[in-house]
């Protein structure tokens, strides 16, 4: 006798889409969330007159009405489009290395090529060659990976098989000479939390191609609007949800899930669980060691938890134009050596690469009239933050944030005169709110060995399914889609 057909642990992106998919299929589902609000990373908080976006910078995979991407198709499937409005962002990004480079790429292949050629006229053939390669690769990737061509071979799809696991840096080196050009083209590496030298080209190519073809988007009302809409649809479809209710244990008997115990000590019987708590937390915190096969414990032990971040939330009492902000997405780097920049994320020294996103550029209604908000993000590992005594945490946080602001002021000097609100989130903040080891924001590292090519994401325990960044890739599109896919697997097993 079970209380629910399925229990979902965590109302993050993956938990929400899993819940909605299950509830719509008539599966009696309970969702448990330890916080008071759905979304996980996909959330917002209000400070003064600003509602700050916490995590979403550029939503991938949307595409347009006439050329829908996979995420738009999924949201249509889930009948969510009527509840949401999306704002298309004009640019891929602006890449700035103060004093040395400043270039903006539109979300359009031909225009991006043109902008690069104008800045780097010596390298026109390399630029053409690189774009041709990215598009050829993605074309073959669709056949091999997405359509699962049963006759896929390295002869039929040479670009895919040759380049999928190459490191991104070596491909940039193959086509470009000027380090500034390599930096300008390769800058999306930070969205994957891995420097180009360790980022599989396959992952880089797909993200670059997908943002260009399906365009970057933002959500009206921020990512919380999406989380709230998904939860609302889930409740309407008959799903139950408890907030302020964490799970402390998954009960396993004879290699099968039989229920969960909540933080309050209530036992709920179920034969199926979708864990959006992350595979690390699920196996380390929720399931007793004796139930995990040695092979799975070794698999977990061999994996590397990915990076966290420091985010500065900035509310300003002027509109973007008045502050010299013309692009929504601005990558600011202090070096063309991405390995060096990445190394700074393991220290408390000024980070040498960061992202500045001003939401009001593409959506003037995002903040109150006459104001705008931005997020400054640098990737950061938790280790150095753990070495600070708690009594020095606040001063360290502000000193680190001041270093980031000093870099920002080199590009946007007027911002400093219009600050109305600032809040700072560190790896410890992410650890507090996400519960993930190291405050990881993208799950495990997006290196080749931690990618889905080598791990199938299935659980050794029957009835247990995983959704979210730790189950595959980080970011909004992958985590949203991971929930639906986990729910579908679960439904197939029920039948």
């Amino acid at each position: 006798m079970t209380d629910y057909d399925a229990v979902i642990i965590g109302a993050g992106n993956g938990g929400l889409t899993a819940g909605l998919t299950l509830a719509r299929a008539g599966v009696k589902t309970l969702m448990l969330e330890r916080h008071n609000i759905p979304g996980g990373c996909a959330t917002s908080f209000v400070r003064g007159r600003f509602e700050f976006e916490v995590a979403l910078h550029q939503l991938s995979g949307m595409g347009t009405e006439s050329f829908p991407g996979p995420l738009r198709s999924m949201l249509k499937d889930l009948d969510m489009m009527k509840d949401l409005a999306f704002v298309q962002m004009e640019n891929l990004y602006r890449a700035v290395l103060p004093g040395q480079m400043d270039i903006t790429l539109k979300a359009d292949r031909a225009e991006a090529i043109q902008a690069l050629k104008a800045k780097f006229p010596q390298e026109t053939s390399g630029i053409d060659g690189f774009f041709d390669l990215v598009w050829a690769f993605c074309n073959q990737w669709i056949h091999v990976v997405i359509m699962k061509d049963p006759e896929a071979t390295s002869e039929k799809h040479p670009v895919y098989f040759q380049y999928a696991l190459k490191d991104t840096q070596s491909v940039l080196d193959e086509f470009f000479k000027n380090p500034l050009l390599k930096s300008a083209v390769g800058i999306y590496w930070s969205y994957m939390g891995m420097p180009p030298s360790r980022l599989p080209f396959g992952d880089f190519a797909v993200i670059f191609w997908a943002y260009t073809e399906f365009k970057p988007f933002h959500i009206k009302g921020g990512s919380q609007a999406l989380s709230n809409a998904l939860l609302n649809a889930y409740i309407q479809a008959g799903g139950d949800v408890h907030f302020n209710c964490g799970v402390k244990k998954i009960i396993v008997k004879d290699n099968r899930v039989t229920g969960i115990v909540t933080d309050q000590g209530d036992e709920i019987a179920t034969a199926n669980i979708v864990s959006n708590a992350g595979t690390y937390t699920t196996y380390v915190e929720l399931i007793d060691r004796e139930h995990i096969p040695e092979e799975s414990r070794r698999e977990l032990g061999a994996r590397t938890v990915g990076t966290s971040a420091v985010t500065i939330f900035l509310g300003m009492d002027a509109e973007p134009e008045a502050l010299g902000i013309r692009e929504a997405t601005n990558f600011i780097t202090e070096t063309t050596d991405n390995d060096l920049a990445f190394s700074t994320f393991r220290t408390l020294d000024p980070p040498m690469a960061m992202l500045f996103t001003c939401y009001d550029v593409d959506d003037p209604e995002f903040s109150p009239k006459g104001a705008c908000q931005a997020a400054i993000v640098s990737l950061a590992y938790s280790e150095p933050w753990l070495s600070i005594p708690t009594t020095r945490y606040h001063e360290t946080k502000y000193r680190y944030a001041q270093d980031m602001l000093n870099t920002l002021y080199k590009v946007f000097p007027d911002v400093r005169h219009h600050i109305e609100e600032i809040d700072v989130a560190t790896p410890l903040t992410h650890m507090r709110y996400l519960g993930h080891p190291g405050g990881a924001i993208y799950g495990f590292e997006q290196s080749a060995r931690d990618s889905e090519l080598f791990l199938d994401g299935s659980s050794p325990i029957e009835g247990l399914y995983h959704a979210g960044a730790f189950a595959g890739m980080g970011g909004f599109q992958p985590t949203l889609m991971s929930g639906q896919s986990a729910a579908r697997k679960l439904i197939r097993q029920l039948k």
Binding site: S44, V46, R47, Q162, N232, R297, L300, L428, R449
Partner: protein, 387 residues
């Protein structure tokens, strides 16, 4: 993708080899169980168990309670932050936030200082019933009314009224004790001269530290009083600070409800931009029906039915925050600020309508999907809640 397809990818077998070696040497992660929460507990424990170690009379109507840890240790805080105290008052489990008045330079104890108020259900209970040795729970320190070195600058003006001095006292003690490079001008409104909380300590600190000045404003002065009288007007501010650099300073406001509108309009007249003003959050207004936007036809005493998901029904008065009515019926929600801001009590309204006064900070999409903050929500109709 099938294994035999994957194996054709250049570099695949090398990475497989790398994984085999890593797995052979892999640590057993199960030993890390509990690590994340242990790290977070040091900075943000979910609940603190406190004990009163000392009670000090500050004025005839104000007392300081020194709170020490009952079990664990007290986490660090920023001067200006508050804790929310939980207490059973006449059989009702409820809570109120109080700013910490002691310096963050040490965390052996937190001081809170409060003042007797007319009909102050919780404060007066603390004043009259709580004794040395009593224990209770609180949240860990929270709140945003603190100096932010990223943009507040070094020239600070504290505008305090009555017991609104408490967060400023913490900031003043920190800056003067540590010799920090910040200039503070405190303009402090009190009813009468002998109502001034921390009067002696403030004048002592001001005489010893050139970076602290204090201006008192007395509403109902004795005949012999020679200082500023009345309220904290633009004139008082200008005479205390001079005309120079007013727009560069950071102004902080904390005091009784009535002080906010008055002082804010005066700051505006002095040309102080909104970005240079910090306002401490404050709890439910004394009379919500006087609040702009309150529907005329509904009176304080009107009562509505509150229905919970388990079928329970009880009544709540329109003139009282919903959270108080819930607590009276033994339903305790998570809460920290009780001012509509922290969002911990966020609750879904399934049907009915509530009034949120300005100051309750509700996310845009929360409004759309009917989420309310019961600590600052007043029932205007019968309600159905997802609790």
């Amino acid at each position: 993708m099938k294994k035999k397809v994957k194996q054709q990818i250049s570099g695949f077998s090398e990475i497989e080899q790398e994984i085999r070696i890593l797995r052979k040497q892999a640590p057993d992660r199960s030993v890390e169980k509990g690590q994340v929460s242990r790290i977070i507990e040091r900075l943000h424990p979910r609940k603190l168990n406190l004990a009163v170690s000392e009670i000090r009379e500050e004025t005839a109507s104000a007392k300081t309670f020194r709170l020490v840890s009952g079990d664990h240790y007290l986490p660090p805080f920023l001067a200006g932050q508050y804790i929310n105290l939980f207490l059973d008052v006449n059989g009702i489990r409820t809570s109120r936030p109080y700013s910490i008045s002691s310096s963050p330079g040490q965390t052996a104890y937190y001081d809170i200082t409060l003042r007797r108020v007319k009909n102050g259900f919780f404060s007066n209970y603390l004043m009259d019933e709580v004794k040395t040795g009593d224990g209770f729970q609180s949240t860990s320190p929270a709140g945003y009314f603190h100096h932010n070195p990223l943009f507040h600058g070094k020239d600070l003006v504290f505008l305090a009224g009555g017991s609104g001095i408490t967060p400023f006292m913490s900031m003043i003690r920190e800056v003067t004790d540590k010799g920090m490079d910040r200039r503070i001008h405190l303009i402090y409104g009190s009813q009468q001269e002998d109502d001034i909380i921390f009067s002696q300590e403030l004048s002592e600190r001001a005489s010893r530290h050139v970076n602290l000045s204090v201006t008192h404003v007395i509403t109902a002065p004795s005949s012999s009083y020679a200082g500023h009288t009345g309220f904290i007007t633009g004139e008082v501010i200008r005479s205390a600070l001079g005309n120079q650099g007013l727009t560069e300073k950071m102004f902080y406001l904390c005091g009784p409800e009535a002080m906010y509108g008055f002082v804010l309009s005066n700051l505006e007249k002095l040309g102080v931009p909104k970005r240079r003003i910090r306002i401490e959050i404050f709890g439910p207004p004394a009379d919500i029906t006087a609040h702009p936007g309150w529907p005329e036809q509904i009176t304080k005493a009107d009562r509505f039915q509150i229905r919970l998901k388990n079928g329970r029904v009880f009544e709540a008065a329109a003139g009282e925050p919903l959270m108080n009515s819930l607590e009276r019926n033994n339903i305790t929600l998570e809460t920290s600020c009780r001012s509509g801001v922290c969002s911990l009590c966020r609750t879904k309204l399934l049907s009915g309508k509530v009034f949120h006064p300005a100051g309750a900070q509700i996310r845009k999409s929360d409004r759309k999907y009917g989420y309310i903050h019961p600590c600052m929500a007043y029932p205007l109709e019968d309600l159905e809640l997802l609790i």
